[in-house]
Structures are given as C-alpha cells and as structure tokens.
Point group: C3
Chain length 350, copies 3
Amino acid sequence: MKKSLLALALLGAFAGVAQAQSAVVIYGNVDAGMIKRTDQSLAIGKRANNTLGFKGTEDLGNGLSAIFQLEIRYEPDTGTTESAVRPLFQGQSRVGLSGGFGTLRIGRGLTAFQESAVAFEPFHGIPSPAGFATDLAVGGYTSEPLAPAGNSINRFSNALWYNSPEFLGIQINTTIASKEALGNTVAIPGRGINGGPQYLINAPASANPYSISATWKNGPGALMLAAERNAIESQVKSVAGYVMVNPDTKLMFSITRQDQSHTKVTDQDTKSWLVGANYTMGAGKFLAGYGQKDADGAAKVKQASVGYEYSLSKRTYVYTDFSNKKGAPAIAPSTKTSINHLDLGINHSF
Amino acid sequence: MKKSLLALALLGAFAGVAQAQSAVVIYGNVDAGMIKRTDQSLAIGKRANNTLGFKGTEDLGNGLSAIFQLEIRYEPDTGTTESAVRPLFQGQSRVGLSGGFGTLRIGRGLTAFQESAVAFEPFHGIPSPAGFATDLAVGGYTSEPLAPAGNSINRFSNALWYNSPEFLGIQINTTIASKEALGNTVAIPGRGINGGPQYLINAPASANPYSISATWKNGPGALMLAAERNAIESQVKSVAGYVMVNPDTKLMFSITRQDQSHTKVTDQDTKSWLVGANYTMGAGKFLAGYGQKDADGAAKVKQASVGYEYSLSKRTYVYTDFSNKKGAPAIAPSTKTSINHLDLGINHSF
Amino acid sequence: MKKSLLALALLGAFAGVAQAQSAVVIYGNVDAGMIKRTDQSLAIGKRANNTLGFKGTEDLGNGLSAIFQLEIRYEPDTGTTESAVRPLFQGQSRVGLSGGFGTLRIGRGLTAFQESAVAFEPFHGIPSPAGFATDLAVGGYTSEPLAPAGNSINRFSNALWYNSPEFLGIQINTTIASKEALGNTVAIPGRGINGGPQYLINAPASANPYSISATWKNGPGALMLAAERNAIESQVKSVAGYVMVNPDTKLMFSITRQDQSHTKVTDQDTKSWLVGANYTMGAGKFLAGYGQKDADGAAKVKQASVGYEYSLSKRTYVYTDFSNKKGAPAIAPSTKTSINHLDLGINHSF
C-alpha cells in the first residue's frame, strides 16, 4: 500500500515531506514511598513529581535546533494522572527553536519565575510537604488562579517562553501568556460582589500574565531576581541566592513577597523567606531548610525540614524526610495546625 | 525471579509465547502558534492536529504483516487531550493484517471517505479554520453523530477497514461499523417528537454505518469517488480530483453533497464545493483555496484561505495563514458572521 | 543553554545527578475482534486486555536491580482508556528493587492472589466472558470494593509487594495496602443501616487489605494456595493446581471460597470451582474450561467455554471462542440468564 493515494494521505499529511527517522527520547521517573502525617493513617504516596516524558531535538543547521517536550504526570500509588482536572501532559507541552539567540518556546509549562526558583530551594522543587517549593519558596503565590481548583499553581497555559543565552553569567527568562479563559468553575468576587464578582465563571485574564527572572552565576554562587503577574493581577517578587561554600556544601536563601491588591481590599501582602542547605557525603546527600510565611491577617507559618537521599546508582536513590509545619490549615477531621511529616521511599529515573 | 511461576503468569500471559524484541515506532508532531480571529483576543493554539503515536509492523512471512497503530491527540497550549469527551487515542487505534490481498484493520479511525478526502484538500487536512477539511470538504457532514457532542466528527468507532491493493492505479477503501451505541447524551428528535424522539439517549445506530472510497491515480492526476452513511443514516457523496500541472504545482477540487432526509422533513440537502492550489518554491509552499457550502434553509457559506509553510528542515516548518469565512455561525459574544482568521506558528514532527 | 542555571534547574531536578541514557522498553498488545452475545447486536470489542506499557531495569551492582513498570490500558474499538473511572495506568504502576532477597515493589497492581491465579485459569486470565478470570476463578471476589463502581476489581492501590525468590520450587508472594480511601461514591450499608452505613462515602479501609499466595512448582506440575482480605474485610481463599501431562497438554483446576461475613448477616459464602485444559497442536492451541459458582441465596452459575488460538507468529495470533454461562445476571433489555458468547479476532503483541 506504500505508493497508494491513501497511504500518501495518511503518511504525508505534514507539508508533503517524508518522515525522517524518529528521534524521540523517552524519559521519566517513578517516586513512591510511605508517608506518615500527624493525625493521618500511614499512606503510600510520592515525594517528587512522577513523570513519563517524550522529548526531542532536531539539528536545523547554522546552530539552530527545533525542540519539543511532552511530559505526562501521574501518581504511582493509584495509577492515575495527577488529578482529574490536570491535563495529561501536566509536566509541560512545548515546542520551539533554540540557537545563538536563546530559546523560544510556545505551549504550556512552568513560568520563568517558577522554573528558576527551583535552584534556590533546598529540596530541589519536590511537591512533598517536606519541601518548600509550592508555598514558602513562592510566598504562597499561584500562577494560574483562573484554572479550575486543583489544577496547576505554577504554570502558564497558552504562553510564549524566551530564555536568553548566558552572557557574563547572566540569563534572562521571560514568559507571557494570552488572556484566554481556562475554565474556572466558581466566580471570584474579589473587589466585586457576589452578584457582580470581579472574575466571572470561565473569566479571561484581566491583563496578560507574565513572568520574568534574571539569574547571575559567578563562580560558586548564583543570584536570582524574579517578578510575575498572574491572570487576576496578583504580583509576586522574589530574590534568591546560593553559594557552594565547598564542592559538597550548598547554602541558599530566598525572600518572596506577594501583592494581591488587585483583588483584595485588606490583607493584601504575603511575605516569606527561607534558608536551606545541601551537603553531599559519599553516596548520601543531606537536605535541610527553614522558613516562614507571613500573610496579612493570617497566622504565621513556620516550616522546618530535614531530608536524606542515598544514591544506589546515578538513576536510583532512596530517601527519608522529616518536616514540621506550624500555622498551616488543619487537615480535617484533625484540628491540629502543627503537622509533622515523615516519609521513606524510592526514586528511580529512566 | 525469571523462572518462577509468577513471572510466567506475568510475562507469558499472551498465548504462552515469549515476547520478541519490541518493535515500536514512536512518532508525532507538535504544532502551536498565535491565532487572531475577528472579535477574539489573541490566542495560543494549534493549526494542525497534535499527535503522539505508537505503531509497528511485524513481518509474518509470505508477504503478510501484522500492523498496529495507537495515536494520542493533544493540545500543546494547555497540555490536555483534545477534549474531555474525546478518547486518549483520538487519532486512531487499529490493529490488522496487511498483504497481497490488501489491508484489513479493526478498531477506530478516520472513515474511508474522510481518510481519502485529505489528498484533495489544499490545506492537507488541518483542522484549523484556515483549512476546509472538517466543513466544506465534506459538505458539513458528521461521521459519528451518536457520540457525545464534541467527539470526533470524521471517525467510526467499532469498525472494520479494508483497503484494496492498487490495481491499474485504482484503490478501493471501505469501512463498516457495528450498530453499538456510543453514548449520545441528548435525544435527537429528528422525524420523531420530543416525547418520542427518533434517536433516544445512548441510541444504537439504526443501520450499520459504512464508508467507501475509490481513488484512481493516473500519471500526474488523481480522482476520488466516495460515499458514506452514518449511524442516523445521513448520507454523503463526494467527487474530487487533483492534477500536478508541474512538479511544483498541484491544483485540486472537490464537490460534496449531504442528504439528511432520514432525520429531516425539510432542508434535507447540503451542497459544497471547493477549489485549491499548492505551489512549492524552494523551501516554501503556498496553499490557497476557495469554496462554498449551500445548506437548504441556511445562509450560504463562503470561505477563502491562503497559507504559507516554510520548511526549516524535513521535520520542522513555520507557517502563517489568512482566511475569511462568511455565513458561518457567529462566535458569541460577537455577532459577526464574516470571520477573519490569522495565524503564525511552528510545526515539528518527530 | 546547556550550562545555564535554568538548564540545571530543569534537567538536574533529581538529586543533582546527571541523567543516564534512557533504558525504557515499550511493550503492549492490541486485541480486537467481533463479538456476538445472546440478544445483543454484533459488536466490535476485545478478548484480552489491551496494553501499552513502559518498563525498565537498572543494574545497581551486587545482584541488585531497580525496576519500574507503567502500563496503560485501553479499548481499541473506541480509542478510550478502559473506563472513565479507571486510571491511565490501569495495568500497573510500580517501582522497586529486585535481588537475591526477592522483589520488593510499591505502587498499584494485581494482588498476589490475582497475579498468581492466572497460571491456573485455562484462558490465561483474559477478561472476556469466554474466560473465567474475573468471576469463577476468584469466587466472585472483588479486591478493591471501596473504589468507585467500574474500577478495578483485582488490584490494590497504595500497596507494597514482596515476591520471594524460588526455593525448592516454592515462591511466596505478598501484598499489603494502606487504609487510604479510594473514593467510593455510594455508601455501603453492609451490617449498618442506610442512615448509618457500615462504610460511608469515600470510606477508608476498616483493616489493612492484604493478599498472599504460595506456589509450588515440582516437575511438570504446580500448586497454589492463596488468601486475601479486602478493604471491607471480605475474605477469599483458593487452592489451584496444574499438570503438564505431556509438553502439549496442560490440565488445571481451582477451588475458591469467598467469605463476606464482615458485611453480610446472611448469604455470606460463595464457593466456586473450575477445571480446564490447554492443548497445543502445531501453531494452534485449544483452550477449554468448565466451572460452577454457588453463592448463598443466588442461582448457581455454570460456565462452559472452548477457545482456539492460531499463531501467525510469536507475536500475533487469531482466535475464536464459544462460551455459555447460565445463572448470570441478565443483560437488559434481555431477560435471558443463559448467555452464549461467540468471538473472532486478532491479538498482536509488540
């Protein structure tokens, strides 16, 4: 059937060109362990994000490359994608060009700020309550508040990314999103009233969301300055840094402030800070962090976490963490607001 | 654990045979760009279908092969599958045998008519409003009307495909589906009444849906004759042709008529036609088309589209299109029925 | 961008180690055919489970390996995942370590009992009504009753697996699950009342579910003893065996008893048994089985099935089955409780 018309219709349906040999890299990781939290029964769950991804690079000549990346997120304890409202390719879905000018991508993924902040968080961005990535490292900020509840809080959909090349150790990263509605299912009164809310159901953004980060690497140290505005015009600013005091020891900090004055009349500001350390000893790596989040009108949140990762190979490690968080919302039916978290598990990359 | 009973149970669970080495080809494409439509804000979206597929061929000897293909469809701007009601393998999910007798497949995919029509549409079947594939090229016809709203309109589920070998340039393609219900969630009154609709919720087909196309290739030209009947017995007939007037220039046309007399008392017929051209100049390719659709009792639809694709490599191209469609349903809150469409994006195959 | 801070953040987000070359095996199978059942129209459907999986093994040295397996389940006739309430990786999602001590895994998959029972069922565990796997081979037992209706009935979520090495032909397999709730959407009165049901909506397990099987291989024969308790404390016990009377002929039996006394006041017991045979002749394989299920207070179920698989290669076979089941619940609108099942299809592994 190779030369038939239908075969042409089927196989040549992209600009009339023959399909070159496939160049897809499949990658991912599986992370699962046992978790015990205050007033909860022993659970099986994850510590890091679980990914199954497909990516590729095509050399276009003249230093230019086409790149793409599609990343499934899932939960190994139940076999599901991350949640019913999260997309199949929750990790990212982007395509673009990379070259001397930098990298330009289009699609959906972590914002420039959220991507850059990972390097300054002592638990390398894991979503576990033992880490700081989704709360204290970003001042409690949400990048996509007009998506349905439970969707991603650190990504932009419908967006363009530009990452500059590194020049004198400096790199500029920007993300800008369209105003397209993302299906929020409850109205947000904000500065409006319940009968005339500030953001209706399935509201579009009131301004184009953007995110920008600048990072500066200098010898053993690095600094980040970042700012972001989301679809409801909450703003976040962050400064962070790290220093490798020796090849085995990394110290880091971040300071973040969120401004919700566009949707709040009172209690507009949230401030957070954290300090952290990583210490590598043979196949083991110690992680430690402490931070606070102070939201106007709410109890101060204090989190202290320690972790240990032991590498069985370059692709597999076992881990354990202990963390305490005070001032966080209680998890019903418990009324405790000081929550201990203990975990023990395995992480395998492929 | 290789020789244990459980390992046998786990690994040998298909006809007791050892699993030969995997022979899966991963393929797909990512297409994303910026889109501006009349009275809509600038959006990020797709022009072509986005695919991530798995396929393979096994040589069975004597010229016979086993073939399979599973194709995920997704939206890179949001990371989701095509829509909540579309299946994971929206592209296709088929398995079968191929040999001197032709190709026989079972599963779900484009119907014989819809598959064949792609070669006679100037925008090679893209679902973008800049193309003609899902409307004027098929007379506004829907292949699967008893699936939930938003599902595929050009596929059969639960079907058998037979594609003949090419003989004297002629190929016959047929698809026939079972009558199984597909979960339509609203009743279709049709020639019935609201209290006694012609098709109930989750109705089975009233006759086996079928589709047939015959294509004839002769030197630089090709012709197609096609007919299809769907689950509610709407019928469509189409004749189409193209000629390569020189190696760089393809001219094409199609004429299609839909007959909905099985479910409509009046306004039963829809007629459409289109003419198109492709012109390749170096790495660039110009696409152009014009067509009309005249449905009884509705305003005449007129669409004119031009496009340009510039190949950066055999697998990557950038594109831009401009299209105007008159007489189409207005997209609320706009009331305009003359809609301009402008896009600019990138398509990368892997 | 290789050396930039962001690239580090993106690519090194797992314990700071470089990603080794990918070592993923993609595997799966596609099974589709035509099915005719009593009082139902001819349908397209499956006989065996349809899978698309990703798995890998990493040698950690000293005889230790890291292993993972992620397995999508889908329906080729409609392109969907198995059902709306089943997870993407319905087949399994597990990660663990394998070595001289045995195999230890964490995640979701078939229970030890359900995995082991496949070797003693004459239709090698297919979910088709022609087989016995999900009903008579397990005494009508359900491993996960607190998941939403339609979800898996032979798996544990949130569980740990341990498979011992084989010693003197004996292997011990165990699974133990956490008590985590799995989202049952209707309350189960059980020994409670409707106003105070025994298991509420989204109830956690009342005891840790566990499953254990012991298998003994000795020359041409094998025996299995198994016991399991699910989240609502229904218990199942099973004994099964097979013998290869010659290299082409396998005879097998199983006897199973389910005890639902934890949730039922009367009609607590279900007993089932089956006998089966497989006979290989050249490229063909005959399958046959007969069994009965006797649940207290319900009509006795009797099932007789014959099947034939003809291998076109090591990876592809065609099949046909005929089965009759008496005493099963009628499938509306039919009121018949003696249901014939006839199928004809193809199975291709990759």
